[in-house]
Subunit: 338 residues, 2 copies
């Protein structure tokens, strides 16, 4: 008959109870700050906890309470964008602020492969989180349908087509694109083009349609180029291509500030003056916008609020309250590039 356990066990609630000369139940009450504990018992337990070095085992607790007090934030971005997209950081911090205040732990899970996708789905299914915020899932993203199937309270940042029934928080990309395009046209530009990006996402597609609608009859499909990602590199290539197609182009709507920054570099290297020869506007009002010379006119996207609101939507569901999709306002920030 071997000794029951050699492993140096971590202290459990029973060890604390023994050390304090009280029962498991009382220790639990102290640990959870419940009522109906005498002062003497409380200090005895706190003493014992310190003495034996007790820390609560979350797995055991979660098992019986059926909750984890953690919310996942799932980031599904193409590799390179994780570095370039400044919105993600803001969304993350916004969500964290809300959840932190509600005493929930935000855990970020990134998906960078199919394998990750499956593992993350398992993580959600296993009950390790009470809810999930999904950032920038694209159309027909497997994680989107997995989330719905699992039935965990969730909210999307952005509105991926094909998941109509799940709560989301988004901005009116189309309306904002229309507004800024109209203002760009209002500066007297005649040949206005667009460097579109990420057309497989609502954000990219809607910015394009807003642009098209704004120009109406003046829309010229040959002045639109399209790239998969919102990157500086896309701006470089896109601008080069547009100049090749139409050297007299005098207005550019770039799908994001990073794209606009790339485009501006090409414009200036080609000897064109911004905004005198060519006007250019971006989208996001990220830190990019302040780094170009001249500074960018752009659409301010409330990334922090997107994160906050998404978190609130998830919390509402957890609490059994109704939670409806929300569209947040954007504003045009008019600087010097157009």
């Amino acid at each position: 008959m071997p000794p029951p356990r050699i492993r140096n066990r971590r202290a459990t609630i029973n060890d604390v109870a023994a050390a304090a000369g009280l029962s498991r139940g009382t220790v639990s009450r102290v640990v959870n700050g419940e009522r109906y504990v005498s002062d003497g018992a409380k200090t005895a337990v706190e003493d014992a906890i310190a003495r034996v070095g007790y820390v609560r085992n979350s797995a055991a607790r979660n098992l019986v309470t059926r909750e984890s007090r953690a919310i996942a934030l799932i980031i599904h971005e193409p590799h390179s964008l994780l570095f370039e997209d400044p919105n993600i950081g803001s969304i993350l911090l916004g969500a964290n602020a809300v959840l932190s205040k509600a005493d929930y732990q935000l855990v970020s899970l990134i998906i960078d492969s199919d394998r990750d996708s499956r593992r993350v789905a398992d993580y959600l299914r296993g009950g390790l989180v009470d809810g999930a915020v999904i950032v920038s899932a694209r159309a027909s993203d497997p994680i989107a349908s997995a989330v719905r199937d699992i039935g965990v309270p969730s909210a999307f940042v952005g509105h991926p087509p094909g998941t109509p029934d799940l709560p989301y928080v988004a901005i009116d990309n189309k309306g904002a694109a229309r507004t800024i395009t109209e203002r760009l046209a209002g500066t007297g530009r005649q040949r206005i083009g667009m460097i579109a990006s990420a057309m497989d996402r609502d954000s990219g597609y809607d910015r394009f349609t807003g642009f098209r609608d704004a120009l109406g009859a003046r829309f010229d499909a040959s002045l639109v180029v399209e790239y998969p990602l919102y990157t500086y590199a896309a701006g470089i290539e896109g601008m080069q291509e547009l100049l090749r197609r139409c050297p007299e182009i005098d207005g550019i709507f770039a799908a994001s500030d990073a794209v606009a920054a790339g485009a501006m570099t090409v414009l200036q290297e080609s000897g064109r003056r911004v905004p005198d020869d060519v006007g250019i506007v971006g989208f996001d009002d990220s830190s990019w916008a302040l780094r170009t010379r001249p500074q960018l006119s752009t659409v301010k996207q409330p990334a922090d609020s997107l994160g906050r609101t998404a978190a609130e939507l998830v919390l509402a569901q957890i609490r059994g309250l109704p939670s409806v999709a929300q569209v947040l306002d954007t504003t045009v920030v008019w600087r010097d590039s157009a």
Copy 2:
């Protein structure tokens, strides 16, 4: 006497066993892919799982196995840096790649307040992760000592002073700074200054001392300015200050590429040509370096490998293998800014 439970319970392993006409043990064996289960039993169980919609409860599993197969990546960055520092994304993806292959889930926890700090410590203590990678903890960071006290396998990216006994992976900031400063001096510059940042971290401090050592007797403390963060804004301010102090300055070592980009903007707006009038070098070889005109000479920091190696150090500890601190190589990338 009310019915035992109204709540629509999720299916458990027992429900599966009943549906399959087999025992709990056999179901468990199938779920975990163990040997010694007949083909008939296997398909019967798989069938039953699909029928009742069973998913394993991770809390119960973690409780008995005493592991979670998850590793935390703790990001403790000042608010604004989460957007600007491109290294973080690479570190994250590098760590994720290694852990994913080993079938561990990476969970990122961000610390943005003292409250977060405590909650994250609780999360680690609670056994919800089997290990932790800590990114960019500063000197005397409470989370650093918490990690040591908790005794969870861990590794630091970077080497915060004051935590000598924990494994870390870092680059030789001092040596790299010395090398690139020497090469900058080798281009014939006479008045070389530095825009230092983040001196409360090993990276910032070591880059400064490397710079000082490289210049030896030619080091001039009045040509060094210091800012708390590695930002574009620090580059702007720092360069303005240096030009005020010494208009004839002709060489700049910026503590990071973002800082260098800010500095270059100021230099060019002041009418100085880079590299003809002033040579400038950065640090990181981030995407910033390719965005400036001329492109930056800089030190290539293997951010992806830092993440990978840190993850490997943690896995080694979990497996009971020795894990020792590592210093990764950097290389100088010589472009056109100096």
